[in-house]
Amino acid sequence: MKGWMGKFRALFLLGSLSLILSGCGVDKVSALKPEGYGAELLYDLMILSIAIMIFVFIVVMAIYTFVLIRYRQKKGQEDYIPKQTEGNKMLEIIWTVIPIILLLVLAVPTVTAVFDLAEESSDEADIRIDVTSAQFWWQFDYAGEEISTSQDLYIPKGERVYLTMKSADVIHSFWVPSIAGKIDTNPGDNENTMYLEATEEGVYWGQCAELCGPSHSLMDFRVVVVSPEEYEQWVSDMQNADPEAEPETQVAQEGKEIFENNCLSCHAIGSQPKGVGPNLTNFGDRTKVAGIMEPTKDNIKQWILNPNEIKPGNTMPANLVDEEEAGKVAEYLMQLKPSEVTPESAQ
C-alpha cells in the first residue's frame, strides 16, 4: 500500500464510501445525488454517520466472529464447564465512553445542520413562495409577485428560495430529495418554513412523503431550476399573462368557452381569484399531467373524463363534459403557454 494512503486513510475511506453511494439512484430523484445546498449538507452528514456506524459494525463483527469460531463447544467437551465470569469494570467503562465520544462527533454537526436549515427569510427582497398542499396536488403562490401556479415550481439556480408551507386538508410532506430534505405541511396555524437552494439547473422530482389518502403515491410534483435570468423572464411573463386571451384556433376557442362554463369555478387561470383546484395558468408548459402522466392530449382528455380512475380519491368530479368537449378543453389547456421559459430551458 502506498504511503499517502496510510496517512489519509480516513479521508480515503470517506471518499470511497461517498463514491459508492453516489452510484445509487437516478439523477434529479435520489437523495444520494445532491444538487442543492440542503441536500449536500445532509449528504455529508449521512456519509459521516455511515462512516462512524461502519466502524462500530466492524468492531462488533470482529469480536463476534472471533467468539463464534473460537468458543464453539467441540466434540468431547460436553462436560466442560467454563469459568463463570461476573463481568469486568474496565471493559464496561470502555464500551460506555467510546460510544459517547463517537456520538458527540455526530451530534455537533447534526445540531449545526439543524439550525442552518432552519434559517428563515429576513429580507423583503428574498424570493418567498407559499406552498399549499391538497389531496393530491401542490399550489405555489409567489409572495408579492401575484403569480400562482401549481405542480411545477420554478426557482432560480443558486438563490435561496424561502418556502412557507401549509395544507388545505390533511397533513402532507414536501420532499425534493436531490435539492433539500422534507418538511410537513400542516392544516391550520402550524405553518412551517424551509428553503431551497439548487446548485444545478434541471427538472427535479418532488413527492409527498406523508400518507395523505389513496393517491398519496401519485402526488408528485416537479421543481424546475432555471438560470436567474430565465427566472426573471418567467416571472414577468407570468405576471403579464392574460387570462382572458382568446386562443388562436377555433377548437381551442370552443374549449375555452366549455372550460369557463364547467371548470372555472374550481380552476383559476391567472393569479386571481384563487380556486379550490390546481391553478392552470401555465398548463401548456407543465412537465406532467396530474403530476404523473405525459402531457399529451389523450392523457388530458382521459383525466378530464375520469380523474378518479387515475388518481383514486381525488375530489375532481368525473364526466362534467362529454368526450368531444373534453378534447376541446384539452386543446385549450395545451395552448396556455404564457412564458418562453419552460422546463426545456432548465438544462
Binding site: G25, V29, S30, A31, L32, G38, L42, L45, M46, S49, I52, M53, F57, V60, M61, I63, V67, L68, Y71, R72, Q73, I81, P82, Q84, T85, E86, G87, N88, L91, E92, L103, L106, A107, T110, V111, A113, V114, D116, L117, M165, D169, I171, P177, K182, D184, N186, P187, G188, D189, N190, E191, W205, C208, A209, P214, S217, L218, D220, P312, G313
Partner: protein
C-alpha cells in the same frame, strides 16, 4: 400436553377449560395461539403489500385497499401479534422464574387476555364490515378523523379495548414481580428476563394511558362531534402526533426489552456461562426504559417543531445508543470463553446480534435530526424499524419459543426443522429489508401504493419482494415444526438445555401449582448454583403444606364480550341511534359481570398436603 388432556375430557370440556382458566400457563397458551394467528394474518397482509410492489405501476390491488393493507399490517403486527406473543412468554415464564405459583391477580390475567382478544377481533371485523382502517397504523389526524368509512372507528374501538387488556396485564406483572418472588430472590438476583419484564411492565403502565387519551379524543371527534383535531373549529392536529408517539416510542421498548431478556437467558444457557456484566445489563435495561420516554418527538423531526426541539430530541435519542451498545458487548462477552452450543434458540440469538446492530446503527443515523429530513417517511425508515422489530423482536420470539417450548408444552421443538425454518427466514429477511435502506435514500417514500417507472426503484423492489417469499417459507416450516414436534417428538425432561434459572427445576410442563414447595434462592442463576454444588433440585424454603389455588371463572370472558358488543354499538350509532341499544346491552353485560364478581365471594380452594405427597398432585 394439552391435547392429551383434551382427548381425555372431550372438546367441549377442553374449550370450557380454556375459556375459564386463570392459570398463567394456560393463559400463555391462549396468548400464543391468538398472537400466532394474528401474526400469520399480518404476514399475509405483508405478502400482499410486497406483491403489489413487485414491479412499477402495478395494479394488483387498488389504492384504497393498499392503504387498508398497510394500516392493518402495522396495527396487527404491533398490537395483535408482537404484544400478545410477548405476553405469552411473560405468562409462561415469569412466575416460574421467580418461584411463584401464579401471577398476583389470576382473574385479571384472564381478563387482560380476553380484552386483548376481543379488541383484536373487533379490529379485524372491519374487513367484512365496510372496509378496514386506512390512515396508517399511526392514524394521523385529520386523515384519520376525516376518513369516510367506518374503518378508523374499528381501529379506535379495537385498540381501546385491547389496550385496556394490555394495561391490566402490565400492572399485573408489575405487582407479581414486586410481591411474589421466592425467598432469597432479591432484585439483583432476578433473572434478566424477569428484569426486562419488570421494566417493560412499568413502561406499559406509563405509556398506554397516553394512547388511551389519544384514542378517546379521536373517538369523540369521530363519533360524538367534538373537534379536538378539527383545525376549522380551532382544534390542533399535532396533538395527536404527540399523544401517539408519547405512547408509540415507549411501545418500541415495550416490545424490544423482553427479547433483550430472552437473549440474555439464551446466551448464558447455551454458552454455559453466567451473564457477563449482570449489573451493567440491569442498569442498561432501566436506563433504556427511562430514556424511552424522552425521545418520542424524534418521530416528528419534519413536523415543524423548530430547531431547538429537534436538537434536544436528536441528542437524547443518540444517548439511547449507549446502553444498547453496553448490552451488545455484554452479550458478546457472555459468549467469550464459553462453550457455545449452536441450538436453534442460540442460532436465532446469534443472528440477532449483527441484525440488531445494523438496526441500531440506522437508528443513530435517524437520530441525526437534520439527516432525518431526508430519511423521514421513506423506505429507509421502513428498513430501520423492520431491522429492529423483525431482527430484534421476531428473532427473539423465535429464540424464546425454541428455548421455552419444552417448559410450555413438554416437548423440545425439532432441531433440524428449526434450523430449516431459520435459514430461509434469515436470508429472506436481509434480502427484503437491506435493500430498502437504499430504496429510501434513492427517493422512495414509504406507504406508496405504486412507484413509477424511471426512478431507478425497480430492481430493489423486486429483490425485496423475493426476500419476502423466503420469509414466508421460513414461517411455514416453523408452523410445520410445531405440528411435527407434537406428533413425533418424545416428552422432554425437566431441564433439557442444562438451564440456569428456576423454571428448569420443575417438570416440563409444570404441574398446575408450579412449585410443590417454594424454592430457596441463594443467588443469581439459582438452579445453576444448586447444580454446581452437585444437588439435583432446589432447596425448599418451606415445609410441604396445603397450597391455596384460585377457581377458574367465565366472568372475564363475559365481561370482555360485553365490551365487544358495546364496541359495535359505538361504531354504528353514528349512522343510526338505534344502534345505541347495543351500547346499553354490551355495557349492561360488562357492568353486570363486574357486579357479580364484586358481590360473589370466590375464596378458591386448597390442594391438601396429603394429595401433594401422593406425587402428581392431580385432583
Amino acid at each position: 400436553m394439552s391435547t392429551a388432556v383434551a382427548q381425555k375430557k372431550g372438546f367441549g370440556a377442553f374449550m370450557w377449560d380454556y375459556l375459564t382458566t386463570v392459570d398463567h400457563k394456560k393463559i400463555a397458551h391462549l396468548y400464543l395461539v391468538a398472537g400466532g394467528l394474528f401474526f400469520l394474518l399480518g404476514g399475509l397482509e405483508a405478502m400482499i403489500i410486497r406483491i403489489q410492489l413487485i414491479k412499477p405501476d402495478n395494479e394488483f390491488i387498488s389504492a384504497g385497499l393498499y392503504n387498508e393493507m398497510i394500516t392493518m399490517h402495522g396495527t396487527t403486527m404491533i398490537f395483535l401479534a408482537a404484544m400478545p406473543l410477548l405476553f405469552a412468554l411473560m405468562n409462561a415464564v415469569v412466575p416460574l422464574q421467580i418461584g411463584a405459583r401464579d401471577v398476583a391477580f389470576p382473574f385479571l390475567n384472564s381478563l387482560g387476555f380476553w380484552l386483548f382478544f376481543f379488541g383484536g377481533v373487533i379490529l379485524n371485523c372491519s374487513w367484512f364490515m365496510g372496509g378496514a382502517p386506512d390512515a396508517g397504523w399511526t392514524a394521523y389526524a385529520p386523515l384519520s378523523t376525516t376518513s369516510p368509512s367506518h374503518g378508523v372507528d374499528f381501529y379506535v374501538m379495537g385498540l381501546q379495548i385491547s389496550g385496556a387488556g394490555t394495561l391490566i396485564g402490565g400492572i399485573n406483572f408489575l405487582v407479581t414481580i414486586v410481591n411474589m418472588r421466592a425467598p432469597g430472590m432479591s432484585y439483583m438476583r432476578m433473572p434478566l428476563f424477569t428484569w426486562t419484564i419488570f421494566v417493560t411492565s412499568t413502561l406499559i403502565l406509563f405509556a398506554f394511558p397516553a394512547l388511551t387519551v389519544g384514542l378517546f379524543l379521536m373517538m369523540f371527534d369521530r363519533m360524538f362531534g367534538s373537534v379536538f383535531f378539527d383545525v376549522a373549529a380551532g382544534g390542533n392536529v399535532i396533538i395527536w402526533e404527540h399523544l401517539f408517539w408519547i405512547f408509540g416510542h415507549p411501545e418500541v421498548y415495550i416490545l424490544i426489552l423482553p427479547v433483550f431478556g430472552v437473549f440474555s437467558e439464551v446466551f448464558a444457557t447455551f454458552s454455559k456461562k453466567r451473564l457477563f456484566g449482570y449489573s451493567a445489563m440491569v442498569f442498561a435495561t432501566v436506563l433504556i426504559g427511562f430514556l424511552g420516554f424522552m425521545v418520542w418527538a424524534h418521530h416528528m423531526f419534519t413536523t415543524g417543531m423548530g430547531p431547538v426541539a429537534n436538537s434536544i430530541f436528536a441528542v437524547t435519542t443518540m444517548a439511547i445508543a449507549v446502553p444498547t451498545g453496553i448490552k451488545i458487548f455484554n452479550w458478546l462477552f457472555t459468549m467469550w470463553g464459553g462453550a457455545i452450543r449452536m441450538t436453534t434458540a442460540m442460532l436465532w440469538s446469534v443472528a440477532f446480534i449483527p441484525t440488531f446492530t445494523i438496526g441500531g446503527m440506522t437508528g443513530v443515523m435517524l437520530a441525526a435530526a437534520a439527516a432525518d429530513y431526508q430519511y423521514h417517511d421513506t423506505y429507509f425508515v421502513v428498513a430501520h424499524f423492520h431491522y429492529v422489530i423483525v431482527g430484534g423482536v421476531v428473532f427473539g420470539i423465535f429464540a424464546a419459543l425454541h428455548y421455552w417450548w419444552p417448559k410450555m408444552f413438554g416437548k423440545v421443538l425439532n432441531e433440524k426443522l428449526g434450523k430449516w425454518a431459520f435459514w430461509p427466514f434469515f436470508i429472506g429477511f436481509h434480502l427484503t429489508f437491506f435493500i430498502q435502506h437504499f430504496l429510501g435514500l434513492m427517493g422512495m417514500p414509504r406507504r406508496y401504493w405504486k412507484f413509477l417507472d424511471g426512478q431507478g426503484l425497480e430492481t430493489g423492489n423486486l429483490i425485496s419482494t423475493i426476500g419476502a417469499f423466503f420469509m414466508a417459507l421460513g414461517v411455514i416450516i416453523f408452523v410445520w415444526n410445531i405440528i411435527y414436534t407434537h406428533m413425533k417428538e418424545p416428552k422432554a425432561s425437566a431441564d433439557p438445555f442444562d438451564g440456569r434459572t428456576l423454571e428448569w427445576s420443575i417438570p416440563s410442563p409444570p404441574p398446575f401449582y408450579n412449585f410443590k414447595q417454594t424454592p430457596l434462592v441463594r443467588g443469581l442463576d439459582a438452579l445453576w448454583i444448586e447444580k454446581s454444588e452437585g444437588k439435583k433440585a432446589m432447596t425448599p424454603a418451606e415445609p410441604l403444606g396445603d397450597i391455596h389455588m384460585p377457581y377458574g371463572s367465565i366472568i372475564p370472558f363475559v365481561m370482555s364480550l360485553g365490551l365487544f358488543i358495546a364496541g359495535f354499538g359505538f361504531i354504528y350509532q353514528v349512522d343510526n341511534p338505534v344502534w345505541l341499544s347495543l351500547v346499553f346491552i354490551g355495557m349492561g353485560i360488562t357492568l353486570g359481570s363486574m357486579f357479580v364478581r364484586s358481590v360473589k365471594d370466590d375464596l378458591g380452594y386448597h390442594i391438601h398436603k396429603e394429595d401433594l405427597e401422593k406425587g402428581d398432585g392431580q385432583l
